[in-house]
């Protein structure tokens, strides 16, 4: 299908700023869904609050735009009640790892079959440029006029430690890689996390003098390198891209089916 067949054209234009990376991620996501040949009726997109969360409104799937930070909790209810559905949860910095951090680690611990996309632009965009738990120290934000002192989470390490069974990272520069990673994440049985570094030229870029959108995107080419690449070996300070975790572990909804079997056996006995 054409990509436009996956969007609700009635609700365009979207609200993202010119140069925002979120549109690239939306495009990558729809390509991934298309290449996987998934039926639109089988997909539920659940999101929270923020620029990233608006993705849910634009896509022609079952869409649930919820509360700040709670997208994974809503998604858990949808998934456990209808395990045959494919759950995709796009989240921003705050949704995923500030107000929603608890749900993130517990969804990973349960290994419930949900694909979490962390759209990491290191800033709260919708509220106008406050620092996030992914900003890291030394950046300028409206709530850090003297630069941040807060260390950042490493999304990949956090997801791995919490028990996610698929963990990957890409950027808006590496669109083809992103499509591939999203396909693998969606196909993975279990909790999958894909962190995508994405530019916010309006707030992060302008305040931190990272230039226009095109310069910010191109920067990802220079500050990242593929896992196993020579570039990464030579310069470990680069941010690694690729798949970090891909392991099998009992999935939560499948395990619950066994609970149902055991409960029925006990009742019958």
């Amino acid at each position: 299908m054409a990509i436009q067949d996956y969007i609700r054209q009635r609700f365009f234009p979207h609200l993202w700023c010119p140069g925002c990376g979120h549109g690239i991620i939306l495009n990558n996501l729809l390509h991934a869904v298309d290449e996987l040949g998934l039926a639109k009726n089988d997909i539920v997109v659940t999101s929270g609050i923020g620029c990233s969360a608006r993705i849910s409104g634009y896509v022609d799937f079952h869409t649930l735009h919820t509360l700040h930070g709670r997208a994974l909790a809503f998604a858990t209810g949808v998934k456990l009640s209808r395990p045959e559905l494919t759950l995709i949860v796009p989240m921003g910095d705050g949704d995923a790892l500030a107000i929603g951090g608890n749900h993130f680690i517990h969804a990973a611990r349960r290994n419930i079959d949900i694909t979490a996309i962390v759209m990491n632009n290191r800033i709260y965009g919708m509220t106008g440029g406050q620092f996030s738990p992914l900003s890291g120290p030394g950046i300028l934000a409206t709530t850090a006029p003297y630069r941040t002192i807060d260390p950042n989470f490493d999304v990949v390490e956090l997801a791995r430690a919490a028990g996610a069974t698929f963990v990957a990272r890409s950027t808006t520069y590496h669109a083809l890689e992103t499509i591939d990673l999203l396909k693998r994440a969606i196909s993975h049985k279990g909790f999958a996390v894909v962190e995508i570094l994405t530019q916010c030229p309006t707030y992060y870029g302008r305040k931190n003098k990272e230039g226009e959108a095109a310069e910010m995107i191109e920067r990802y080419k220079h500050i990242t390198a593929k896992i196993g690449s020579k570039a990464l070996e030579e310069n470990p300070a680069l941010i690694p891209r690729g798949v970090f975790v891909e392991v099998g572990r009992p999935e939560y909804c499948e395990a619950y089916e066994e609970v149902i079997v055991r409960a029925r056996q006990e009742v019958a006995a």
Binding site: L67, R70, A73, F74, G77, V78, S81, H106, A263
Partner: protein, 382 residues
């Protein structure tokens, strides 16, 4: 087949009522004095093919049941004061997105941690106004286990009928006390099932376009209609809007769908009320003491009766005004600082004749406590 007679806690009566009503998904977090509800459902739901999940916190529990309701399940969560506070944002979401769900609050002492193991009725106003913004809510209660069962069934029925969260406000005494429960046969109590749209697939379905009777047929997530659900102001497709006309219509619809049906939603019982000069108004565990006192006094020829509220919100203003018209004095019996008292005073023609008999020390209000206040009102000294 003989009706099943059980000797149960109130929390268990609630579980029986929920299963009778067709509960198929429960999410919760342990909290005293409601935990038995989660424990019993963890055992009972899977054998029926339902789902139980213990979530990471109270907020997540509320969010999970909303998600599961959207896929077509009858859903419930149970909690107590602190957890009820945490759930409020998501309860507001369920009001705004019009998603049927049932929230049980087995009340304990508050505010804050208060007294987890002792009784209180201090969450009445929170049930009405706990979440932000103009909204409406249905809250039901019960004073005995047969009614806990019946009102739990009613809660599910109303949640489906009005597409709204319904709060069951029990209290620690009702939750933990044991008494007899007759579990009705299937079919004995009417059940309301989800109203699903008749719009065929591939035809534009409007999840937020009310029918002529005001009801909004639903379509299960994962089914044939793809639509958007949001906590933002939304149009008939569920897509965000800031169009002033649409916003105004939405807000008025959320209020009116319940306010216009107060007479069909509200429930109460009358005990010894005929010709009563003194009217006691009470609910939950407090009502047991009020009824006890009225029975005792009636036996001595005193004209005293009880209005037992089984629904607290929407408040049955007209009924209270009417039933209290001839009363010399009205005594509101509750375990808080006068939350229903304020409603009763606002409802009656002469608020100066409405008095409060209360306890807020974690002990069940006793007939003797009510007698003391009654003596003062009746001019028989302190």
């Amino acid at each position: 087949m003989a009706r099943k007679v059980r000797f149960v806690q109130g929390n268990e009566a609630c579980v029986e009522g929920a299963l009778y009503a067709g509960l198929s998904f429960y999410a919760g977090y342990p909290i005293t004095p409601s935990t038995e509800i989660a424990e019993l459902l963890a055992e009972r739901l899977p054998a029926r093919g339902g789902r139980f999940i213990q979530m990471e916190d109270e907020i997540a529990s509320m969010c999970a049941i909303i998600g599961a309701s959207l896929t077509g399940n009858k859903v419930m969560t149970a909690t107590s004061g602190p957890g009820f506070s945490l759930k409020q944002e998501a309860i507001g979401y369920a009001c705004m997105a019009e998603i049927p769900c049932v929230i049980v609050n087995v009340q304990r002492g508050g505010p804050s941690t208060g007294n987890p193991t002792h009784v209180g009725q201090g969450d009445i106003n929170q049930a009405r106004w706990g979440t932000h913004g103009d909204h409406n809510i249905i809250a039901l209660t019960a004073s005995n286990h047969q009614d806990v069962f019946a009102m739990t069934v009613e809660a599910f029925n109303m949640a489906e009928t009005y597409r709204t969260p319904v709060v069951l406000l029990f209290d620690e005494v009702i939750g933990h006390m044991r008494e007899k429960l007759l579990v009705p046969e299937p079919g004995e109590l009417p059940l309301v099932e989800r109203l699903r749209t008749s719009v065929p697939k591939d035809v534009d379905y409007h999840p937020y376009l009310p029918r002529e009777d005001g009801r909004l047929p639903m379509s299960d997530f994962g089914g044939e209609h793809r639509y958007n659900v949001t906590g933002l102001y939304h149009d008939m497709w569920g897509f965000p809007t800031s169009n002033p006309k649409m916003v105004s219509e939405l807000l008025r619809h959320l209020i009116d769908k319940i306010d216009n049906r107060v007479h069909e939603i509200t429930r109460h019982k009358e005990h010894f009320l005929e010709g009563a000069r003194y009217v006691l108004i009470s609910y939950g565990a407090s009502a047991r003491s009020a009824i006890h006192l009225a029975r005792e006094r009636r036996a001595r020829g005193e004209r005293i009766g009880v209005i037992e509220l089984q629904s607290l919100w929407p408040f049955p203003r007209e009924m209270i005004r009417e039933k209290c018209r001839e009363a010399k004095a009205v005594l509101v019996v509750e375990m808080n600082m006068g939350q229903m008292l304020a409603q009763v005073r606002a409802a009656v023609a002469d608020p100066e004749k409405v008095f409060l008999a209360n306890r807020v020390d974690g002990k069940l209000i006793a007939p003797a406590d009510i007698k003391q206040v009654l003596r003062v009102i009746q001019g028989r000294g302190v």
